[in-house]
Symmetry: C2
Subunit: 464 residues, 2 copies
């Protein structure tokens, strides 16, 4: 792990509240000189004499003793602060002009404008949180719905980190035993019991697989699940969309301030957000314009995990459906088939529509008009998004970077397992285990590179 310590010895400052006019705006100062620098521009009590976790009323004045604002200052002392450093939070009147003036004054006094995510990066470097927790802070701020909020909060509170650290510790123990063997390689001793090692690796692989499998759910909880709604004209797509959204619309309108995409509709089922993407009706492309419509539908499908194909049981034959599905199907896309207007044809048999693209459990006859079987369709949507994982599991992987590191750690451990079976030498075994340790360490940040840190924290907002 390489860290440029010098860049973290200075005192940084940033506006931590959103830009714009408000009742108040908070400027955050962090670093060893935070209290001293703020003290120089603060007219009130001597901040240096005050304990942490206290508030102080006073005025901010510039070099010419010109009052800029009346403020409340919050004091946190190292190590009991977000960054682990001394922190001062200056609560000003929420005028962009004033906040800009106070920021500039602090810079003239000796603070440096913080880079995006630099406060959280300092928290990471001072051991206040690991890398997965730091990433969760950004996810938490970006969370726009319940499940995203929940996975971020779990991750921030250290769920995945604890599991990864536990796995690493056990592996490190064996790794050190194997390294010891290498020192005594001429003597052909075996400090690391091979059967115990095999058992351990299998156990760790099991956990890694379980975590990896949770990524589909974790990602769905965080990002939402893109779900395309397709069908021929007059199949009942709009009616189905309305039936799916009926309750939802009331809920959405209750919560002021939630932003909704105007083109897509958003549906939440047991906390998981589905982005319902309506498409133009599918039909044989008879002219160029219709061909464009089909290609747009295909584009949406490429970005989606689920396709709900709705059709009119009175109008559309199994052959026509098969023809459509053949065009729409692709790897990784789960197709739910919704034979519609079953109220007009109660003799609809789901098994008539089984094909190589849809199995029986994914066929849900409905009547969109009467909202029949809609709850069951929702259950199917939810189950498909979960794909076997349980959302109540304490630890969910929701971060693609973590999923990739787990995948690589698993690969290294499988190589080690093969090596054990084929009697691989200790040094090659040690190398596989070191690889697994490396990739596990990437998740929590025991192993980092400047590029990785820059990439992670560069996506934060300034002031965090």
């Amino acid at each position: 792990m390489h860290v440029d310590v010098h860049s973290f010895s200075d005192t940084i400052v940033a506006l931590s509240t959103p830009p714009g006019v408000g009742a108040l705006g908070v400027i955050r100062v962090s670093g060893s000189a935070a209290i001293e620098l703020t003290g120089r521009i603060f007219k009130g009590k001597n901040l240096q004499d005050q304990p942490g976790y206290t508030l102080h009323y006073g005025r901010i004045a510039d070099e010419a003793d010109h009052i800029l604002d009346e403020v409340i200052v919050a004091l946190f002392r190292s190590p009991h602060s977000f960054t682990g450093e001394d922190i001062v939070e200056i609560s000003c009147h929420g005028s962009p002009y004033i906040l800009q003036q106070v920021l500039q004054l602090l810079v003239r006094t000796g603070a440096r404008l913080a880079k995006p995510g630099e406060f959280t990066q300092r928290a990471f470097l001072h051991g206040k949180m690991d890398l997965a927790q730091a990433e969760a802070v950004a996810d938490l701020i970006a969370s726009t719905h319940q499940s995203a909020h929940e996975v971020a909060l779990r991750q921030m509170r250290g769920g995945i980190s604890r599991q990864i650290l536990a796995l690493r510790e056990e592996l490190i123990h064996f790794a050190s035993l194997i390294e010891l063997e290498l020192d005594f390689s001429e003597e052909d001793v075996e400090f690391a019991n091979r059967d115990q090692l095999r058992g351990l690796i299998q156990r760790i692989l099991g956990t890694i697989r379980h975590l990896s499998e949770s990524f589909q759910l974790g990602n769905a909880m965080k990002e939402g699940v893109n779900t395309v709604l397709a069908g021929r004209p007059n199949a009942g797509k709009s009616t189905l969309l309305n039936a799916l959204l009926e309750e939802e619309r009331a809920i959405v309108s209750e919560i002021a301030g939630t932003t909704r995409d105007t083109i897509e509709e958003s549906l939440t089922i047991q906390g998981i957000r589905f982005r319902l993407i309506d498409t133009a009706g599918i039909r044989e492309a008879q002219d160029q314009i219709e061909a464009i419509g089909v290609s747009r539908t295909m584009e949406k499908i490429r970005e989606s995990a689920i396709l709900i194909y709705v059709f009119d049981v009175l109008e559309t034959s199994a052959e026509e459906i098969a023809g459509d599905l053949q065009k729409l199907a692709r790897d990784g896309l789960t197709i739910l088939l919704a034979p519609n207007k079953m109220d007009l044809n109660p003799y609809t048999k789901p098994e008539d529509y089984i094909s190589e693209w849809v199995d029986a459990s994914h066929i849900i006859p409905i009547s969109a008009k009467n909202a029949q079987n809609i709850p069951y369709l929702k259950e199917k949507l939810y189950a498909t998004a979960l794909a076997g994982a349980r959302p109540e599991d304490d630890v969910l992987v929701s971060n693609a970077r973590h999923a990739e590191a787990l995948y690589r750690a698993g690969g290294a451990l499988e190589a080690a397992l093969n090596g054990l079976d084929t009697g691989l030498t200790g040094d090659l075994l040690a190398e596989d285990i070191r690889q697994a340790l490396y990739h596990l360490g990437e998740i929590t940040g025991q192993v980092t590179t400047d590029d990785l840190l820059a990439n992670i924290f560069g996506k934060f907002c300034i002031g965090k």
Copy 2:
């Protein structure tokens, strides 16, 4: 003074930071139950046991013990708070979703969403500030440049309030003496020495006039001074605009985040902002389009306090200028005449251009190209905006409502003065003085109506 006390007995809550995504967002709770209500959703120390001016780390959890966020809570205890009531400020992660959830939870727990300005209104009603100071809080938040910020801060710190209160106190003394006379009216006594009263009223009238005169400057400092730049085509308007803005542009670009109107240019002279409005060149309207251009110029002039008329000394005759000025002049508009290209004709005599619309002191020969005399033109702009008032005066009237109240108080006192001269009876004299007291009291809020309060605080942002 009538106040609906009941509506202020409950506990209010609002987001106090601007809406949007940020590192943090602050939710403010104020009222007698603020600490108890927050305590019910806060997992950490028992807030009720904690003293004011302290900070506490903990988690916010809903009724189902579901964690919503990790937060820092700031505690203020009545009367030592902004509103004078118990206040809790909850510093959350700056996700609109989380802030919305915490707000809704507090409402379910028993708080009420605050109306715009309700926190400040409570501060006023609990005697933490008078009405002029409360208005200054809104001005401070809205301030976008130095002088607006300065007048708001002065007013918030009680500048004008102290002067008005002092005037009122002296008047009240005499008013009570006169009222006493009325009780003994049959006995024809004179408790209130008429000469002393005349002296007092004259002194107060002097102060009121001084304050009223400061309104032009105060308003200019707060709102900026609209200044139209006009002239015939090729008179050098653009060159003059650039010369005026030359330094300014560098300064403006330094300050990130200051918003600039794209159509108008902004020029700051000794802290006073001039909004320079460029206009189409003036010429005889030969067709309809040009007539529209002229009428737009006239519209801009109606909204402005100063007109800079620039002309080419080589091309334009005094008669032509007089013709233009006749069209442009209107009451209340100060015209500055800028004979341009004096480098090409150093024999330009300002007095040649004196007319009924421009006096000698307002003629400033320049060379826009060489930036000659531009500093002098700026001085003239500044002096015109000041109109005799001194910006270093501690008390400036910057609020139109205050200016009107002063005008009415002055009118009542002049009537009283006339009454003294003409031997008006005590009861009519008392009525005039009561009128003056009423209008002075309107400024600081000793006298208010529900409408007035609703009008003032309704313009605040929510959360303040």
